[in-house]
Amino acid sequence: MRATTRAARSRRWGNRPGGDSPGRLVLRFAALGYLGALLLAPVGLVFYRTFEHGLGAVWDSVTTPAAISAFWLTVEVAVIAVVLNTVFGVIAALTLARGRFRGKWLLDALIDLPFAVSPVVIGLALVLVYGRDGWIELPFEVIFSLPGIVLATIFVSLPFVVREVTPVLREIGDEQEQAAATLGASGWQTFWRITLPAIRWGVTYGVVLSTARAIGEFGAVSVVSGKVAGETMTLTLLVEQRFTNYDLAGAYAASALLAVIAFATLLVMTRVRPR
């Protein structure tokens, strides 16, 4: 209902006589100019610089052993973090949308915290808890190795799934779930057959956003990684390392690889964006 009136409305606006008045054109070019100067021109230039010496050099630069190991480490970390975040995110969203308990507002507020806290502070926090003389002693090394990188990545991408799924759950209400329960479905059956299908687009969108953030995280990972080439060097850390070692072409090539991943993410985002 609402969608149709909105469509009708936008059609009316689009067909308004004199739609391209001078004022409107000025605003349009101001907005596009701002976006062009800030986003498109710099990103375009990096692609140009990357490929100006031909594809071969780029290929060599992203297939060095260090680059390949950084790529797979990034993928490994992102997969672990996103899977854990998705499971946690759905549970947390169910708790927030369906549960009634004291301190719910606190949980609601705290979940956004990783968005507002500086990545460097998150890295420092993890070092203080899991590092040398930290609060928690684990039998294996966390800081300066894989678990630390995974923890940092989970931390920064924690809120995405929760934030996308909670509003969907609130929107759909729990009538269908109650009906299923009345008909004798167990909690699990209700979840798999009713709840999950209803929230699948919200979950997908949250997963896409978490993946992008997990692959691109730099600040928090930079603090906890130790940056050992071939061991704890992620793609974003590789970009920085190559840049500081005056390997500009190598930094651009690794950046272009990350930018391609970002554009792919963008494409998926526009396909599944909840309306």
Partner: protein
């Protein structure tokens, strides 16, 4: 728990050394001032530019609007270190100045105001504006009297989010700012340097200040939403 315990550890660590001494050292103060100042400027620029972009995306019609709409999310999808390198490649001339910091922060915070204003603008009924126009109001008048008051909460909450993000931003700034102490060193870069040089307590003290700022902004936004 995974969030709270580590953050509590930062607060505890900050109290170990002399908190005030660490926070009020000239270098720390300069870094905090620069971060907060630059972020305020960035929030203000975003409030204007973000509203403009949202307006053009919702009310204007032109070829490629869908592509532009998708591109607005690019700063969220692009790793911050890549964003920094990208800006450095094009804007060499301003590198290692405070302008470079503004540029990097504007890049990474671009989507916030656009994405908070856009849905409100879509829902806003153009009939009110048409009524205003038929009563003889100029489009500037109807924007100021009718559109702006309706968008105001969305603009403010988007700008506040942009501010919170800008205060803590690290990846995009670290390459382009040059990190000259007391000139172009922002607070997160300063904290990072302190960690690297094993001055963890001092790093924790500055972190607590940043944490306090983010908490205040979060609470303020929540107030605004309800």
């Amino acid at each position: 728990m995974i969030v709270l315990i580590p953050l509590a550890a930062v607060v505890v660590k900050a109290t170990e050394a002399s908190f005030w001494h660490a926070v009020t050292s000239p270098r720390a103060l300069a870094a905090l001032e620069l971060s907060v100042g630059a972020s305020l400027v960035v929030a203000a620029v975003n409030a204007v530019a973000g509203t403009l972009i949202a307006w053009v995306l919702v009310r204007d019609r032109f070829a490629g609007r869908g592509v532009v709409n998708a591109l607005v999310d690019l700063p969220f999808a692009l790793p911050t270190i890549v964003a920094g390198l990208t800006l450095l490649a094009l804007y060499r001339d301003v590198a290692y100045t405070r302008w470079a910091i503004l540029l990097a922060l504007l890049f990474v915070t671009l989507p916030f105001v656009v994405r908070s204003v856009q849905p409100v603008l879509i829902e806003l009924d153009p009939e009110m504006e048409e009524a205003a126009a038929s009563l003889g109001a100029t489009s500037a008048q109807s924007f100021r009297r009718i559109v702006l008051p309706n968008l105001w909460p969305a603009i403010v909450s988007g700008a506040a989010l942009a501010f919170a993000r800008a205060v803590g931003e690290f990846g995009s700034v670290v390459l382009i700012s040059g990190n000259i102490p007391r000139k172009t060193e922002v607070a997160p870069v300063f904290i990072f340097g302190q960690i690297e040089s094993d001055a963890v307590a001092s790093a924790a003290a500055i972190s607590v200040v940043l944490l306090a700022i983010s908490l205040i902004v979060l609470v303020a936004i929540r107030r605004l939403d309800t």
